[in-house]
């Protein structure tokens, strides 16, 4: 009984996907939607197989530009988060600035980046970076800034310098926040890359979808969507796994 219910729990996501595909296929057939408007699941699958070569090439382009942008975001996010979170003054000073920056739609940066760096991978990498570093900064900074004052007293009375407190307590304490933000950041990084590719590149999934769309090959457009979603999901799960590994102490009681 419990074994069975566990199995069902594991299968549940796959069942949901299957149901979605069936509903998709059925509704397209039922309402007789032309495939250049909304392709059926089967058409999409067909496009995925037929164009697997170009799709793979463009996916790879999207994948590595995203990873580089994300990598930059992690490094900059960590450093900036550490700096901002390490002092109350900097936290108060920089936080509104960061929020204001985050409020700008990152698409708006693409034309600027194109003027500076031309068409190609660089704007895509930078857009991915710009969009994904914010949650990392905020999470790391908040983790550091919300240190318990008693804990700080315990250490300060021992002659601990500010940097000791940050390294021994602040940083480990903010790690769960950091890893949680990585999951969000990686999916955002994909958004950034694809957005940039649709307007300022001749490579990548974003470009592929744009050009396929202009030729009314909607099956291919939807295939592109699926691939992006799959890549982002795999990366998300990867970081979720990493999070559990690195900060098991923060998820106590779940798997005990």
């Amino acid at each position: 009984m419990t074994h069975n219910s566990k199995l069902i729990e594991r299968l549940a996501p796959w069942i949901a996907v299957a149901v979605l595909v069936v509903v998709w296929e059925a509704s397209v057939r039922l309402f007789n939607v032309p495939s250049f408007i909304f392709p059926s699941a089967l058409d999409t699958l067909q496009a995925l197989v037929t164009y697997s070569g170009p799709i793979a090439m463009h996916s790879w382009q999207t994948f590595w530009t995203t990873l580089i942008g994300f990598g930059l975001g992690v490094v900059v996010g960590l450093v900036l988060g550490f700096i901002v979170g390490s002092s109350r003054f900097l936290y108060n000073a920089c936080y509104p600035l960061l929020v204001g920056f985050n409020a700008i739609p990152k698409v708006a940066f693409v034309p600027i980046l194109v003027v500076w760096f031309g068409i190609g991978s660089v704007p895509a990498i930078l857009t991915a970076f710009l969009i994904c570093f914010f949650p990392i900064v905020v999470n790391v900074a908040t983790g550091l800034a919300t240190l318990e004052p008693e804990m700080e007293d315990v250490l300060r009375v021992l002659g601990a310098r500010r940097i000791d407190v940050l390294l021994k307590v602040g940083l480990p304490r903010s790690l769960p926040y950091f890893f949680a933000s990585l999951k969000i950041a990686i999916t955002l990084a994909f958004v950034g890359t694809v957005v940039s590719e649709t307007v300022a590149s001749n490579q990548g999934i974003g470009y592929l979808m744009m050009s396929a769309g202009s030729q009314m090959r909607m099956g291919l457009v939807f295939a592109g969507l699926l691939v992006i979603s799959a890549m982002a999901m795999v990366m998300y799960e990867l970081f979720a796994l990493l999070e559990k590994r690195m900060t098991g102490w923060a998820h106590r009681g779940q798997n005990r």
Partner: protein, 260 residues
């Protein structure tokens, strides 16, 4: 009698313009003495602790510890609070070792003398009854056990001055009495100086040599009371008449403070 270990001369402290948190404190604490501060909440008991350990400087008067003015954090002191504040990513043993990674001279020697330090921590944990739980994480311990570990952490670097800020406030009555005895035994064995801030009069009377009663904000010492009960004190003492009378007298004083 020896010279005072901690000496407060006309000490006042105001955090901001809203008036003094504590005012005109004059007192001497001798080395090895166990003192308790009781008073209504918000009377500046915790402020007193910060002054004592050098985390705050007085706005008036002077604080001297060990015959030298206090100018910065006093490394000869250890602290424990109402919340155990153990780090959840460290085992109990590693939590207890934390001060040795920070305070000089142990900090420099930590790598070479690690084995020895671990031995100290194990001994200390064993004396408070946590021998079996060294490798557990804080969240696997009960509240009382966490507080024992927290006291061990405050004592690992062999401080001469132990500051306790309502350390047993969040525990149930039985665990609290158990920990009174743990603290009593640690103190009887090592005779460090203890400053205990509490609002539990029985706790203060059972553990301390001297009880200071503080007034409402601005906090002043309104009564200094020497507890004459013979040592070592057994927990049963607390249910006998002389002890109960003593607690009632202290309680009456606090009552007066609250009503004025």
């Amino acid at each position: 009698m020896s010279a005072a270990f901690v000496r407060f001369d006309d000490v006042s402290l105001a955090y901001d313009g809203s008036g003094n948190a504590i005012e005109d404190i004059n007192l001497d604490i001798h080395e090895g003495e166990f003192v308790a501060f009781v008073g209504p909440s918000g009377c500046g008991k915790s402020t007193f602790m910060k002054l004592c350990t050098g985390l705050h400087a007085p706005t008036q008067g002077s604080v001297r510890v060990d015959d030298a003015p206090v100018t910065g954090p006093l490394k000869i002191s250890g602290m424990a609070f109402q919340n155990a504040n153990l780090l959840p990513w460290r085992t109990t043993l590693d939590n207890v070792l934390l001060p040795l990674e920070i305070v000089e001279p142990y900090r420099r020697q930590f790598r070479q003398r690690r084995e020895e330090f671990v031995g100290w921590a194990r001994d200390l944990l064993a004396t408070v009854g946590l021998a079996e739980h060294e490798d557990k994480y804080p969240w696997q311990l009960s509240g009382g056990m966490q507080q024992r570990a927290s006291i061990c952490r405050a004592l690992i670097h062999r401080p001469r001055l132990l500051m306790l800020d309502e350390p047993f406030g969040a525990l149930d009555a039985f665990t609290r009495e158990e920990l009174w005895c743990v603290l009593r035994d640690l103190w009887e064995a090592q005779r460090f100086t203890v400053v205990l801030v509490t609002h539990d009069l029985r706790e203060a009377a059972f553990l301390a040599d001297t009880v200071y009663v503080m007034s409402r904000r601005p906090g002043r010492v309104i009564e200094r009371r020497t507890i004459e009960l013979p040592r070592p004190r057994a927990l049963e003492t607390t249910y006998e008449k002389p002890f109960i009378d003593l607690v009632q007298e202290l309680r009456a004083q606090i009552g007066e403070v609250r009503s004025t």
